[in-house]
Symmetry: D2
Subunit: 228 residues, 4 copies
C-alpha cells in the first residue's frame, strides 16, 4: 500500500503490530484474545480515550516509509517519541527530485499562522517559475561541486529545503494521535497536512474503534472532523 503525496512524495505502511484488541488486552493485562464481547471491548476503548488513559494505545505500533521534502521532514522530526532513520546526504548523492508546488499561498494578515491559496493566475505562474528556476540552479551548482570533487556533505549546503528526503518512522498509536492533533489541522503547513491525512486514513482502517474514539474524545485538530 503506497499513497502518492505531493508531486513526488509517498507514504508506505511497512509493518505494524497490534490493533484495537491489542489496546484492550493491554488495558486488561489479559491472557489470550482478551476479548469479552465486541461491545464490551469497544466500550472499553471509548472509556480509555474519554478518561485520558492513553498508555494502552502504546502497544499498537506502526512503521512507515516516507518520502517528503526536507522542510516537511524537519517538522516531522520534532515529534520526539518515535524512531527515525533517514537517508543521509553525507553518504548518498541527492537525486534530482524537488518539491515544486502546484499552487501559491499568501500569508493572511489577521492570522500569521495561516496562509491561503492565491487565484491570481499570473502571480501564480511567475512565482512558480521563480521557485523552479532557483531550485534548478541550486541543483546545477550541487552537481558541479560534486564533479569538482567537493565532499557530498559540503556540496549539499546549497541544496534547497524543497529537496526530497526519505525516512523510516516507527511510532506507537498514542504518539501517532499526537502527530494528528498537530498536523491534521489547518494551522499546520499545507504540505505536512497531506501526509497527516493519509496517516489518518491508515489509522482509521487498521484501528477503527480507536480512531472513532480518538475523534470523539481526544482529537484537538480540525481537518478530520467535518467528514465524520
Amino acid at each position: 500500500m503506497e499513497y502518492k503525496i505531493l508531486d513526488k512524495g509517498f507514504l508506505r505502511l511497512v509493518d505494524m503490530m497490534g490493533d484495537d484488541y491489542a489496546a484492550v488486552k493491554a488495558a486488561r493485562v489479559s491472557y489470550g484474545k482478551g476479548i469479552k464481547t465486541p461491545e464490551k471491548d469497544r466500550n472499553l476503548i471509548f472509556y480509555l480515550m474519554e478518561h485520558g488513559h492513553e498508555t494502552p494505545f502504546e502497544h499498537i505500533v506502526f512503521t512507515f516509509h516516507v518520502k517528503a521534502p526536507i522542510f516537511v521532514a524537519r517538522q516531522w522530526f520534532r515529534h520526539r517519541i518515535g524512531s527515525f532513520n533517514e537517508a543521509s546526504l553525507r553518504y548518498t548523492e541527492l537525486k534530482d527530485e524537488f518539491y515544486i508546488p502546484d499552487h501559491v499561498r499568501k500569508n493572511v494578515v489577521e492570522d500569521k499562522q495561516k496562509a491561503i491559496r492565491v487565484d491570481d493566475e499570473q502571480l501564480k505562474q511567475k512565482a512558480l517559475d521563480l521557485i523552479e528556476s532557483s531550485i534548478e540552479n541550486s541543483y546545477k551548482v550541487y552537481k558541479e561541486l560534486l564533479e569538482m570533487g567537493v565532499a557530498r556533505e559540503m556540496a549539499r549546503i546549497v541544496l534547497p529545503m524543497s529537496s526530497y528526503t526519505q525516512f523510516y518512522w516507527t511510532v506507537n498509536a498514542r504518539s501517532l494521535m499526537n502527530f494528528l492533533n498537530l498536523r491534521a489541522d489547518s494551522h499546520a503547513q499545507w504540505e505536512i497536512q497531506q501526509y497527516a491525512l493519509n496517516i489518518a486514513n491508515i489509522f482509521r482502517e487498521k484501528c477503527p474503534w480507536t480512531f472513532e474514539a480518538f475523534l470523539k474524545f481526544a482529537y484537538k485538530g480540525d481537518l478530520l472532523k467535518g467528514g465524520e
Copy 2:
C-alpha cells in the same frame, strides 16, 4: 510460547514486529525486502552494532506479558523507554500468589552489590519458614481488611513486595538490549536475571544476527557470555 519463571511467574511473547531484516531495511531506508545478499545484510547488522548506530534496531518491537513479584517489577519499570500497563491493586483484589524463594542468599562482605547462595540447610529452612509465615500473615490481614469493607487501595499497603503482579511491556530491540545489559548480569538481583535470560532467548531466536552482533560488540553484562 510461555516461559515459567520463579515459582509462579511467567513471560509470554504476545506479539512482535520486525526481525533482522527490519533493521537492515531501516538502515538503508529501502524499498521492499531491502535485501541484498544474506551475507551483506548480516554484515550490515554487525557494522551498525560495532559502530554504535543503534536507531535501526528501534524498528524491531516486542510486546511481552509478564507475571513477576513486585520487587522485580519495580526494577523493571525503571527502564523508561518502553510502554507498561500493569494490573492495578486499586481496582482488583490481589490473589493469594506470592514469591517464596527456594534458596537463601547472603550478602558478600567484599562486594555489597553481590549476594551468594547459602548451603546451610538449617539456616535456609528457618529463613524460608519465616518468610512464608510473614507473607501468609500479611495476606490474612489483607483479606480481613477487605471483608471489613476497607478500600482495596488502602488494604494493599500491608501486602509484601513478594506479591505477584502482571503487566504488558512493549519495547523496541534497542531498549531491550539496554535491559539485557543491566539485568542479564550477575550484579542484577537473581530473580530479575531469570526473566532477563528468557528474554535473551526469545531475542536470540527471533533476531539471530542482531543477537550475535549484540553479544560481540555491545553487550556489557556477563551472564550471556560463557555459553556462546
Copy 3:
C-alpha cells in the same frame, strides 16, 4: 523548604532552573532577558498554553527530594518523562518507617475508582490496629532475617508496600503539569494527592503566570480548581 506530607513523608525542592521568563525566552528564541513588557510576556504564556504549544515549558526544570510510601512511589515512577534516583533496599537497610494511615477509606459501589472516608470510629480503630500490627510483624521478620545473615535484597521481600522510600526527581514543567493532571485529581489515590497538592503550591509560587495559564487552559484534574 520542606513540606511534611502524610505521617512521616516529605517533599523538598532541591534545585530549580528557569521561571516564567525562561518559557518566554525559549518561545521567542531570544537574547538576554527576552522581556518585552510584563503584559506582553504574560500574554505570550497564556497564548502558548491555550494553543497547546507546550515545548517552551520544558526549559523550566525542578529537582525534588521525596520521601513517600512505596505504593505512592510506584504510581509516581509511571511518569516516564523525568529522572529518578531512588535509595536501594538492596544495599541499604530499611529503617523502621512505615506509613500508618490516620483514617480508613471504603470503596464506593457506583464508581470503582473512588474511595471515601469512613466515619465509623470502631471500624476505623480495628482496621488501623490490624494494619499497624501486620506491618510491625513484617518488620520484625525483616530484622530477624537480616540478623541471620540473609541478604538485604532477599529479606526485603517481606516488607509491606507502606514502607517509606526516598528518591530524587528531576522533571520539567511540561511533564510536571502532566503529573498534576493525573495526580492532583480526586480519582488519584488520596496519598499521592497530598504530594501533588504540595508540588502544585511550589509550582504556583515559582511560575505564577504559567500556573495560572495552566489552570485556565490545560488542567484536566479537579482538586486545584475550586480554591482559585
Copy 4:
C-alpha cells in the same frame, strides 16, 4: 558567555542547574550538601561512570541558545532526549545570514564517512565562489517571492541548507554526554564538531569531575582525547 562558531554562528549557555555535587547527592539520595569529603565525592562520580550508572547525571541540566546552519541543526535535532525550541521560518522572515565555508573538503575514497580538507587553492576558490553565488541567488529569489506576497512558509522552500537558524536546547548531562560521544568525534561532520567542542569546554568547566570521569570511562569519540 558566548562562543563564536563558524562564520556567523554562536553557542550561549543561557542557564544551568546542578554540578558535580548534584550527581553525588542524587546518587546518595541525600539531604543537604550530600558531601562527605571531596575525595569520597569525586570517587563516587568515577565509580558511577565506570559502572554505567548514568541516571545521577540526569539531575545536571543545561540550557543553550544556539545559532547554526540548518544542516547542522538537522543533525542536532536527531538527539531526541532533550528539549528544542526553534525560530520558525513560517512566521519570521529569514535574515541574510548563510554559512559560507572558509575551506573545501573532499570525500575520502577509503572511508566514505570521512572528508578531508583540500589545499588546492584554485579549486577551493572556485568551489567557494560557486557556493556563495548559488546561495545569493536563492536568497534573492526568496526576497522576490516575499515581495510578491508569497507566504513565508512557501517562499522558504528555495532557501539552502546553509541558512542560519536559532534554537534553545535544554539537555541533561547524561544526554549531553551522548551528544559528545557522537558529535565530538572525527566521524561527525566538521561543522557540528565545532559546536560539540565548545559544549565540551563548558561541560568541563562546570562539572570538572564528571567531565574527567566521562573521558576516562565512557567517552566513545576521539576529538576530546589527545589534548588531555
